[in-house]
Amino acid sequence: MAIGIKKVARPRKMSFPEALYLVEIVKGLGVTMRHILGNIVRQEGIKTIEYPEVRRVMPPRFRGRHRLMKRQNGAPRCVACFCCPTACPAKCITIVAGESPDPAVEKYPVRFDIDMLRCVFCGLCVEACPVDAIRMDTGWFTPPDDTREKLIFTIETLLEK
């Protein structure tokens, strides 16, 4: 495509009363007052919620904080197959596999860390898991914390929920 010049219409120069913005300010205050009065009269219509005391109900497919599932005996269901770190686009899952004390299980995660600061909450780990060991159905956002280390969730934290 050839490069050319296109003339764009400039905004019209404002007249003096318009440049004072007096009418517009009054109009704007009118909108504000309408909302204040409306909310005082009908409080159930307020859109904001008082987080974290009140939490929004998340839709069922919302991808929130991860949790690791447990077996009936309380051991992690995860078999450390490395499918989730392989699928993870953010490379935020670190697994160290080991020989399980339960011979029927064989392989289990000695370490299972998720770096919540790296996670992009895409849910591919959940998709990849062959044993339904990892889920993102807690309905929780990752709570904030004051150091980076605390936001690398270990297997203990992930098994809690």
Partner: protein, 525 residues
């Protein structure tokens, strides 16, 4: 020389070639489990069935020898249906525990299922025959009888290669399984190969067990540094950590095998590494920068030459170094320091064990190369140690992590007689505890070059990843040192050194990295 056509492609092969081998020559892959290039033909997995014109039934490609005018089809519906059927039978009792199986990712069952299977099991899960899982059968091997497809590769390997015959088939029908004889575990030096040749996850490595998933590993062509045989290997690593070795096929050296000792050699590049240069002043380690430590070593060496003469300076080379590095070491000793005190020793602590298959008594990859490059062994080394013991060596440039076969105490005693020792090495050990300047060097997985094996075969090894920590490539380090001693070397990388070496050194004359290739080249005698 029979001529035949496979899937319409004409191919001429020598008398006695099988259809499977002939197909490989024209790039047609015929699925197989029991066939192995370096074992006898068993023909029991039935995966390699092909249609041959004028034969009423399908033939096993691995055991059918080609004849003149044969017409083979591997891509017909009949073949596909048969192979799919065979695979369904092989998978009938399979536990499908891929998530916890170390073979997953390089498993023959997974690979062929994606091509020929993709079926749902017609066999109820609760009807599957269960066998014993996680059996430690000795050596480096864990046996999972449930995953086995009874291809008999392991049985043939132990029969034909090691001759120890520890594994065999037991039971009949559905209950057939491989196992050791009661109370007689695997007892040979080549058990690790069983994990390599097992096409499924029945025999897996104890050492590699659960360490890493194979699809996360990268491989680099390398040479085992465990002994003078120079087995061709692929070194598998993730990031800068080595995880395992797999033998590469080289019929002139190791065929398709490697020993169990060599298989664990990778650990030396992971553990107890020297990662940053340091100097020892008054018995205390003080970290140093590369910019300061190399000129300091050069200064100490040249000062000793000036004050006490060239005979007061010595260089001990290492047969763990590559040909390129040894060539530069010799040139530094001869041209820069002007000393005749240059020697190496093939002796190492605990060496001497050998067997009649691959393991050699000399536990260094490049003793032969050092000799061919004119660095003396044996008496010259003993004479040099005599001089050190007599306190006549005032400055020593020492390569390697150990001093011959001396114990830690003996090494410390000998080295305490030298006022200045500079070590170029990869691992902490008796030498790094005594040296006054420690220059950490790249391991065999972090640098490239060539080794000359016991038979004089020059073989290349390649760098997998950059040197760990602050370790430096030895060639780079030696160039800096030589230039600090007044040379003007401009070598960049091992290739340029090899070019210089092949011009002047008679045994290597005319060699290039291209002529060495993937399988090595014999040095002139």
């Amino acid at each position: 020389m029979p001529n035949l056509t496979i899937d319409g492609l004409a191919v001429g092969v020598p008398e006695g070639t099988t259809i499977l081998a002939a197909a490989k020559q024209v790039g047609i892959h015929i699925p197989h489990y029991c066939y192995h290039t370096h074992l006898s033909i068993a023909g029991n997995c039935r995966m390699c069935l092909v249609e041959v014109e004028k034969f009423p039934k399908l033939q096993t490609a691995c055991s059918t020898v080609v004849t003149e005018g044969m017409v083979v089809r591997t891509d017909t519906e009949k073949v596909r249906k048969a192979v799919t059927g065979v695979l369904e039978f092989l998978l009938i009792h399979h536990p499908i525990d891929c998530p916890i199986c170390d073979q997953a990712g390089e498993c023959g069952l997974q690979d062929y299922y994606m091509v020929y299977g993709l079926h749902r099991s017609r066999y109820a899960l609760e009807d599957k025959v269960h066998k014993k899982k996680v059996q430690d059968i000795g050596g480096q091997i864990v046996l999972d009888a449930e995953r086995c497809i009874l291809c008999s590769r392991c049985v043939r390997f132990l029969d034909e290669v090691t001759g120890t015959r520890e594994l065999n088939f037991f039971q009949r029908g559905d209950h057939s399984e491989i196992s050791i004889f009661p109370g007689r575990p695997l007892d040979n030096n080549y058990t690790g190969n069983l994990a390599d040749i097992c096409p499924v996850g029945a025999l897996t490595s104890k050492d590699f067990r659960f360490k890493c998933r194979v699809w996360l590993l990268k491989g680099v062509e390398s040479i085992c540094t465990g002994c003078a045989r120079g087995c061709n290997i692929a070194a598998h690593f993730k990031g800068d950590i080595l995880y395992r070795y797999k033998p590469r096929v080289n019929d002139a050296v190791n065929r398709a095998w490697m020993c169990d000792f060599g298989r664990l050699e990778y650990k030396k590049a992971n553990d107890a590494r020297l990662l940053a240069p340091f100097v020892r002043e008054g018995g205390r380690e003080k970290s140093a920068s590369w910019g300061a430590i190399v000129p300091q070593v050069a200064l100490e060496l040249s000062r000793a030459v000036e004050r006490e003469g060239a005979d007061a300076v010595a260089v001990i080379a290492s047969p763990q170094s590559s040909n390129e590095e040894l060539y530069l070491v010799r040139r530094i000793a001869a041209d820069r320091l002007g000393t005749k005190n240059l020697a190496f020793t093939h002796r190492t602590p605990g060496d001497g064990f050998s067997d009649d298959l691959l393991v050699l008594a000399d536990k260094n990859p490049n003793s032969r190369g050092a000799k061919l490059l004119g660095i003396p062994d044996g008496e010259a080394f003993d004479a040099l140690i005599g001089k050190i013991a007599a306190g006549r060596i005032r400055a020593l440039l020492l390569f390697g992590n150990v001093l011959g076969a001396f114990t830690e105490g003996e090494t410390a005693g000998l080295l305490s007689k030298v006022p200045f020792i500079a070590q170029v090495g990869t691992n902490t050990g008796p030498v790094s505890k005594a040296a006054h300047a420690v220059l950490p060097s790249a391991s065999f997985a972090e640098r490239g070059g060539t080794f000359t094996n016991h038979a004089g075969r020059v073989q290349r090894f390649h760098a997998g990843f950059p040197p760990r920590g602050k370790a430096k490539n030895v060639i780079e380090l030696l160039c800096d040192l030589a230039n600090g001693l007044g040379a003007d070397w401009t070598f960049t990388g091992e290739r340029s050194v090899f070019r210089a070496l092949s011009e002047t050194e008679t045994p290597f004359r005319g060699m290039t990295y291209e002529s060495v290739g993937a399988f090595g080249q014999e040095a002139a005698r």
